[in-house]
């Protein structure tokens, strides 16, 4: 029996979307975002597209800080704190991989690279996977548009506790607090 995979709702965070035309402007925007505080996580989602995350309690300050940072550049900053939600998976690498593999062809390299971001279809969900640093286990955040979060939770819970087949690398999972 493998160690369990834990499933938790993502904690609230302040989130900003930054969009700009790709190309030279995007390079400048990216450089300025790199200069933001360490408390800000900037996930680059594509050419000229970022999702920034910061402490929830500093939401309005966060928005102001980023807007100021990008002054003079053609960039759109939207407060998307309420637009995203999701789940946190924590467990042994193989078990987390096997669980995610029920929704998409995950490159194992992703799980091994802390800070990596994968924007993909996970099962029927347009999801954003974000790998957090963890000493022993794999720690993966799965973000979706907020309206899908409950449905994703049902999808994930349905896959928790499923026993392994002949080549599954056993998953015996439970939801945190359950």
């Amino acid at each position: 029996v493998a160690d369990p995979v834990l499933l938790r709702r993502l904690p609230e965070r302040a989130r900003l979307s930054v969009l700009c035309p790709p190309g030279e402007t995007a390079d400048q925007v990216g450089a300025r975002l790199d200069s933001l505080s360490r408390r800000v996580v900037a996930l680059r989602l594509g050419p000229g597209e970022w999702l920034l995350e910061g402490p929830f309690e500093l939401e309005s300050e966060f928005h102001r800080q980023v807007t100021d940072c990008l002054t003079g550049l053609l960039a759109d900053v939207q407060n998307v704190t309420d637009a995203w939600d999701g789940w946190l998976l924590e467990g042994p690498r193989e078990a987390v991989l096997a669980l995610l593999a029920q929704g998409g062809a995950i490159d194992p390299v992703l799980i091994d690279a802390s800070g990596s971001v994968d924007r993909r279809l996970l099962g029927p969900f347009a999801a954003l996977l974000f790998v957090l640093p963890a000493a022993q286990a794999a720690l993966v955040e799965i973000r979706v548009e907020r309206s899908y979060a409950d449905s994703l939770g049902v999808w994930l819970r349905r896959r928790l506790g499923r026993t392994a087949g002949s080549s599954g690398g056993g998953i015996i999972s439970r939801e945190a607090g359950a």
Partner: protein
């Protein structure tokens, strides 16, 4: 020997674990590791099924998916129809039954068809059931009852299905010697590998052989095998190396179902009877080492139980210690049958003779190199089986010279015994080997052909599928061709799948075409030809092939459709080529001249439940909730899926209230007091940047530049053909920032359209940013004459006076303590405020509004009431009136198109439509005098039309259809919107509308009637729009 089970041997069975199972109600014993087929053969059960068309008794013929008949109904532990006995692993308590017979397998009334088979040749249905035409429903009933094999289970599947995705550089299909060598090459290259195979252990056909030959290392690539290593030793070592490699995914008991472009493959893994896993694979390259199928032979009554493929006989003997008979005749190429003859003799089975249809050589004995044990086995070279005898099981065969002229004068037998044409040899087992046909179905699915070419790209065929039949040649082929394939991979080991542009499989050419012995000698003609079964799955006979050819169906694809050759559950895996070769012979063409028919996925039958995956029922689609969904459910709302996966409240019935009553109550609240509608799913975009205005001017048909900040207008989104893609509103938030809305169901399509416009149509406008903001705004619509009073009561810093905050204006401010963007737009025709707030604030605001509006008569309303209210106002809805064909003029929305403002998307098409004299469907209203509302979707015909007349003045030609129909609460009568040809010019005219019978779904078009309706203007309520501007 107990029954047909040998006292020892059997690589796959565990004699320490006996099992009990039932077949057709009889109890039998087997061993752990058996298949149902091996266990039934071991128990002496010969007939396991009845054939599809003639209900002839059929036994187990093969050992794999190529068996055409051994389909059974599984009753326990799970219920499933059409399960192939050769693939069904035995478990204790398993219950199975034969199918497609009545009342029993031994006595089947359907076998009467066999007596009448002269009347039932290919094409019988097409020729017979076309007259009289009115009798077709009766024929259809009969045909439907006769069609199909098994009965559907009466309960939901208990098989647990999981879906799994994986990616790798290379997929190797098959774990025979060639596949194993190819997989080894991949592993040693350091690339990631997915290795899939039918069996639970590698080895393929090697596992069917009792001999373990030493490999000739000098005939192998250097380093592939050690000196003196046997085949099995090499396999064991190779598998260990492959399976322990870090980047290998080994899929045992797995069938690759399909191969698609872009390196996509779908495979099915079976983990016992109750568990399946569907794999969706993404790979760069594919090595196909799927081997070859053994062909049967064509002769009279070649379908009798006890006639088996030689490879299957070896399979059951070696893997399950099951002898398939006690006295065997072997037919086929002598050299290929020698190992089987030796194994049968060792097992105590008498080998009556080997019949080799090829031209005679030497003295009719086995070659000098063969085992002395075979000395006593008569070999008849140049002879063939011409007929089998025995009804429920073979008891003898008749032999004839293959070429009567060459051998008639010198019949030769073994041990000095001669045979004569027409002699019968007693036997209870006939093992036939008609040659091999490569298993290229997957390659053909991936758009491959079977013509010769040496080129290869992303699919590479190796091993037996290319004609290799010796261990060293198979291994060498797999190794070399896999290395060749890897050498063409320019990207790194973890690269993604190939692009579609280069994803073309090689043209496949078997290295050396094996001899086709499946059609030895002349094929009988006339009545006898109807006993020569070419495709046992569909009961296609040699007569059918000849008939089809005579009637002009000379192409294999036509032959297939006319005769149903290869259309049975086995998809002609082992017999399709036989029919094609017979067709070639009838046409006087050389063997191999005709290409086989196209293979289509899936490679083997798959249950729908497996494809549906792990999320049955309502979970098969994801769903979306608004921040208020929990409240809606708690309030007793009937929730609907209303597009784009949103679950929204349809209506809020009170206890004992019907849909109509609830609707009337909700509609009345909006018309007389105030209603509350959760409109969160509305699609919303912010479009900003210095060129945002220019972008929108080109995109939308209305003037955007004229809008001042805080003002907006109705917006149409047109496709290039001038048809409506979507509609919504456009507001200017600031000088360089706009707010665009669209319908919820079309949000993704509109997003894609905006991206297309920004990135391609108007790529010169680079200073534009389109931000989808739907998810960060919850939208609550407060509508009704008391809406202003309600918001004022709750407290706001906005001046809600009509002059200060007019219709089609927006303001940002605070409402009931929440930051909000408030828009004065209306979809109900009443005074209306659309409050957009942060989703986290939505529930609190909703509750405050409900609470504050209690004394004003507030009601939450669902999408049903919203629909009624908008129909009363004649507002169009995407998907109803805007059906993908309608342009703005058709819908009476020409006022929203500023055609003279300059170019915009769809302008040219609108001008073309306006210049055309062709009549267009136009939006109108319909009223009926009495009775219920019209049916949505009902067709509109001329007042004089009569049903059943397709031409002439009475013809009932459709002139339009009803797009929406409701019982108006405000007008207290049914009303409808419709798209009617030249509708606006016909206002006041009487038309007829079709009425479907109550059981329309059962009766199709039969039973339609007509009902009269009056064409009216499409706005039924407040046509001047006084209320919504109030």
């Amino acid at each position: 020997m107990s029954g047909f089970r040998l006292p020892q041997g059997g690589r796959l069975i565990d004699r320490d674990r006996p099992l009990r199972f039932q077949f057709d109600g009889r109890s039998f014993a087997g061993f752990q590791g058996d298949t149902l087929a091996s266990a039934l053969i071991a128990q002496g059960v010969r007939t396991v099924a009845r054939s599809f068309k003639f209900h002839r008794p059929r036994g187990i013929r093969a050992a794999g998916w190529e068996d055409p008949n051994a389909f059974v109904r599984l009753l326990a532990p799970v219920c499933e129809a059409n399960v192939l006995a050769t693939q069904l692993r035995l478990s204790d308590g398993l219950e199975a039954a034969s199918q497609h017979r009545w009342p029993s397998l031994a006595f089947d009334v359907g076998a009467l068809a066999d007596r009448l088979r002269l009347l039932l040749p290919a094409g019988f249905y097409y020729k017979t059931f076309k007259w009289p035409a009115r009798a077709w429903p009766f024929y259809e009933h009969l045909i439907r009852r006769a069609a199909g094999l098994g009965a559907l289970p009466d309960r939901a599947s208990q098989v647990e299905v999981e879906r799994r995705h994986a990616q790798a550089a290379v997929l190797v299909v098959g774990a025979g010697l060639a596949g194993t060598a190819a997989a080894l090459a991949v592993v040693r290259s350091g690339r990631s590998l997915i290795w899939a195979d039918e069996g639970d252990q590698a080895g393929g056909r090697v596992l069917d052989q009792s001999d373990d030959a030493v490999l000739a290392a000098d005939r192998l690539p250097p380093g592939l095998a050690r000196e003196g290593q046997s085949v099995r030793q090499w396999l064991e070592q190779a598998c260990l190396e492959i399976e322990t490699a870090a980047r290998t995914t080994r899929l045992a008991c797995t069938t690759v179902l399909s191969l698609h472009e872009h390196g996509e493959a779908i495979a099915l893994e079976r983990a016992g009877l109750q568990s399946e896993r569907l794999w969706l694979l993404r790979v760069d390259r594919v090595v196909l080492a799927a081997g070859a199928f053994e062909l049967p032979m064509a002769f009279e009554d070649n379908d009798r139980p006890g006639i088996m493929l030689a490879g299957a006989v070896a399979h059951y003997l070696e893997r399950y210690a099951v002898a398939c008979g006690r006295r065997a005749v072997l037919a086929g190429a002598e050299g290929q049958l020698q190992p089987l003859a030796r194994a049968l003799l060792r097992a105590g089975v008498e080998v009556a003779a080997i019949i080799d249809p090829r031209a005679p050589v030497t003295d009719g004995r086995l070659s000098p190199a063969s085992s002395p044990a075979l000395d006593r086995v008569p070999v008849h070279r140049g002879w063939r089986i011409s007929r089998a005898f025995g009804r429920d099981g073979i008891d003898s065969v008749r032999i004839e010279p293959t070429d009567r002229m060459a051998t008639a004068g010198s019949p030769i037998g073994a041990s000095g015994k001669t045979v004569r044409p027409g002699d019968r040899l007693d036997c209870d087992l006939l093992a036939v080997h008609g040659g091999w046909t490569p298993a290229l179905q997957l390659a053909r699915q991936a758009a491959g052909t079977c013509s010769a070419d040496g080129s290869e790209d992303w699919v590479c065929v190796v091993g037996a599928a290319r004609g290799h039949d010796q261990p060293e040649s198979c291994m060498g082929d797999g190794w070399h061709r896999a290395i060749g394939l890897l050498g063409k991979m320019t990207r790194g080991p973890t690269s993604g799948a190939s692009s579609g542009a280069t994803a073309r499989p090689e043209r496949i050419a078997p290295a050396a075409a094996p001899p086709i012995l499946a059609l030895p000698g002349p094929i009988p003609e006339g009545l006898a030809a109807q006993r020569v079964f070419i495709d046992c799955a569909s009961d296609v006979t040699a007569l059918d092939i000849a008939l089809a050819q005579r009637e002009g169906y000379e192409a294999p694809e036509l032959l297939k459709r006319y005769t149903t050759l290869g259309m049975g559950p086995d998809q002609g895996r082992g017999t399709g080529p036989l029919g094609i070769e017979l067709l070639a012979r009838h046409r006087g063409l050389a063997p191999g001249h005709l290409e086989p028919t196209r293979a289509r996925p899936p490679f083997v039958p798959v249950a729908f439940g497996t494809l549906a995956g792990a999320d049955p029922g309502p979970l098969i689609r994801p769903y979306r909730d608004t921040p208020l969904s929990a409240w809606h459910r708690e309030a007793g709302a009937v929730m609907y899926e209303s597009g784009a996966n949103w679950r929204r409240p349809g209506y809020y019935p009170r206890v004992g209230e019907s849909l109509d009553q609830a609707l009337r109550r909700e509609c009345r609240a909006v018309r007389q007091a105030v209603g509350l509608y959760d409109s969160t799913p509305l699609a919303k975009y912010e479009i900003s940047g210095p060129q945002a205005e220019a972008f929108l001017e080109r995109l939308l048909p209305s003037r955007v530049g004229a809008l001042k900040p805080g003002r907006g207008r109705y917006a149409l989104l047109l496709r290039e053909d001038g048809r409506l893609l979507d509609d919504g509103v456009i507001f200017r938030l600031a000088s360089d920032r706009f707010w665009l809305t669209g319908t919820a169901g079309n949000a993704e399509a509109v997003q894609a359209w905006l991206d297309y416009a920004r990135q391609w149509l108007f790529r010169d406008l680079r200073q534009v940013i389109v931000a989808p903001v739907s998810a960060q705004w919850a939208t609550i619509v407060v509508c009704g004459p008391k809406a202003r009073a309600l918001i004022t009561k709750l407290g706001t810093d906005l001046d809600l006076d009509a002059a200060a905050f007019p219709f089609m204006a927006m303001r940002a401010g605070r409402v009931a303590g929440c930051d909000a963007r408030v828009f004065r737009v209306s979809f109900t025709g009443e005074l209306s405020y659309e409050l957009n707030v942060r989703p986290r604030d939505a529930l609190a605001l909703w509750l405050q509004l409900l609470d504050g509006g209690r004394d004003l008569g507030i009601e939450p309303i669902g999408s049903e009431a919203n629909h009624v209210l908008r129909v009363e106002k004649g507002f169009v809805s995407i998907g109803h009136e805007a059906d993908g064909f309608a342009n703005p003029d058709d819908l009476g929305l020409g006022w929203a198109v500023h055609i003279d403002k300059g170019d915009f998307v769809g302008r040219r098409s609108i001008l073309r439509d306006r210049a055309s004299a062709l009549p267009r469907p136009e939006l109108v209203g319909l009223e009926v005098d009495d009775g219920p509302a019209l049916e949505e979707g009902a067709q509109i015909v001329d007042a004089a039309a009569r049903l059943g007349h397709e031409t002439g003045p009475d013809a009932a030609r459709s002139q339009g259809f009803v797009t929406a129909s409701v019982e108006s609460a405000a007008l207290e009568r049914p009303i409808a919107l419709a798209l009617l040809e030249r509708g606006r010019a016909r206002i006041g005219e009487i038309v007829q509308v079709t009425v479907a019978p109550p059981d329309a779904s059962e009766r199709g078009h039969a039973g339609l009637s007509l009902r009269r309706a009056t064409v009216v203007a499409p706005v039924f309520y407040d046509p001047e729009g006084v209320r919504l501007r109030g």
